[in-house]
């Protein structure tokens, strides 16, 4: 193990940084945006919404991300209807396919978390809204969802780290993000330890930055005392 290669590895590995960040941030944001309607659907009163959402999350959470990635990138390209559609310019690109696959995957897991948190909001909150005449729409936007997302901040912070790690799979469909670049450089230098350890340190640094950011957010918006007070005197 030579320090020389460590030093040479740094700029190389940094070349992959931009794509890693693009994939991570885009997939994360897209995944969170998709998770909300999906989570609401999982909790919906109507089976017409509940069942498709449940099937979707069941299938996605039951299979590896790699398979989903290949289905979107290699599989969709096989279908003539897709190749001729207006979406082809997007679905042809490995970068977009990677982002879509990771986002869809993240959304499925996040939706379950959102649905669970929605269920845990005390029924009294909805009842207070009803008694005040507040519409269903505003009940969600002003009362239920703010509470849910404040409670879920730690989960969301965790999710972005998972998405960061998932971004490494993009190297399997030719994208030269950090892992892809590291692997290619290793093939040229036969110095896997130096290169992969440097890449690893970079991932840890990015993860640390995200975690720090979310800790700050948690401090500001944090978990509000969502629990209603327990009866201090029995009725």
């Amino acid at each position: 193990m030579s320090p020389d290669i460590f030093i040479r590895a740094i700029p190389i590995v940094l070349q992959g940084l931009q794509l890693t960040l693009i994939i991570t941030i885009c997939s994360f944001v897209l995944g969170q945006l998709l998770a909300l309607p999906l989570g609401l659907a999982r909790q919906a009163a109507s089976p017409l919404l509940r069942w498709p959402a449940a099937v979707y999350t069941f299938l996605i959470r039951g299979s590896p991300l790699l398979v989903q990635l290949f289905i979107i990138y290699y599989g969709l390209g096989q279908i003539p209807a897709v190749r001729e559609s207006v979406f082809w310019p997007i679905l042809r690109e490995p970068l977009y396919c990677g982002i879509i696959a990771i986002a869809l995957n993240s959304a499925a897991y996040m939706a379950e978390v959102v649905a669970g948190a929605l269920k845990r909001v005390p029924k009294g909150q909805s009842e207070a809204c009803i008694s005040l005449g507040i519409s269903r729409r505003h009940r969600f936007t002003d009362v239920l969802l703010p509470q849910v997302y404040r409670e879920l901040l730690p989960n969301i912070g965790n999710e972005i780290i998972l998405v960061l790690k998932s971004s490494s799979l993009a190297s399997a469909i030719t994208i030269m993000e950090i892992t892809g670049v590291a692997r290619a450089f290793t093939a040229r230098t036969f110095a896997p330890f130096e290169v992969f350890i440097t890449a690893g340190i970079l991932y840890l640094a990015i993860g640390f930055a995200f975690t720090f950011l979310f800790r700050q957010l948690e401090r500001r918006y944090g978990i509000t005392g969502t629990r209603t007070p327990t009866p201090e005197a029995s009725a």
Binding site: L59, G62, S63, L65, L66, P192, F196, L204
Partner: protein, 221 residues
Amino acid sequence: MSVILTYLPHLLEGLLVTLQVAAGSFVIGLLIAILAVFGWNFGPRPLRWFISGYVTIVRGLPELLIIFLVFYGGTVLLSGIFGAYVEVNALTAGICALSVVAGAYLTEILRGALLTVPQGQWEAATSLGMSRMTTFRDVVLPQMLAYAVPGLGNQWLVILKESALVSIIGLEELMRKGVVAAGATHSPMTFYLTVGALYVAITAVSTLIIGAADRRAARGR
């Protein structure tokens, strides 16, 4: 479709390898975790830091990176030792890498489960004259494992899906078999959907078994 049926035996062979990788990694990871929790509880401070460091670092790294590190790194090591190009066996590399990863997550799961065991259990055992070691082994550990079932079960599902990554270094498990079949027949969608369905099937079956195990374990909680 008949092309699926033609390749089905190959896919099922791959499925077997997948199960081997997953089971091997899970068991070794669990052993690592039990040792780590043991060391955390009874060991000196530096050992705690080491275990903490191991868990934090491994959980912050992409699994694929760890697999590459073990595979390519192992190859370089072995080649250095033997003086000629010796490639690490993909199965070994896969199990090694995934065990290291599983060990980190399982350590956290077991530590959480350990904290759930009521303090009173330790106190009762001490008052009966049992040493800390004996208490841990005979009283606390079994209870801890009972609390840990849901977490352990979940980790099993994670490892099952993670095993697909080992296909990237050429292991002939389910995913790789699917890739090969897709390439040979030029029908990626067909085979990746089939492979996906097989994964869903084994995770579904696993989930049922874990549920049953959890209900059994709950009797003693």
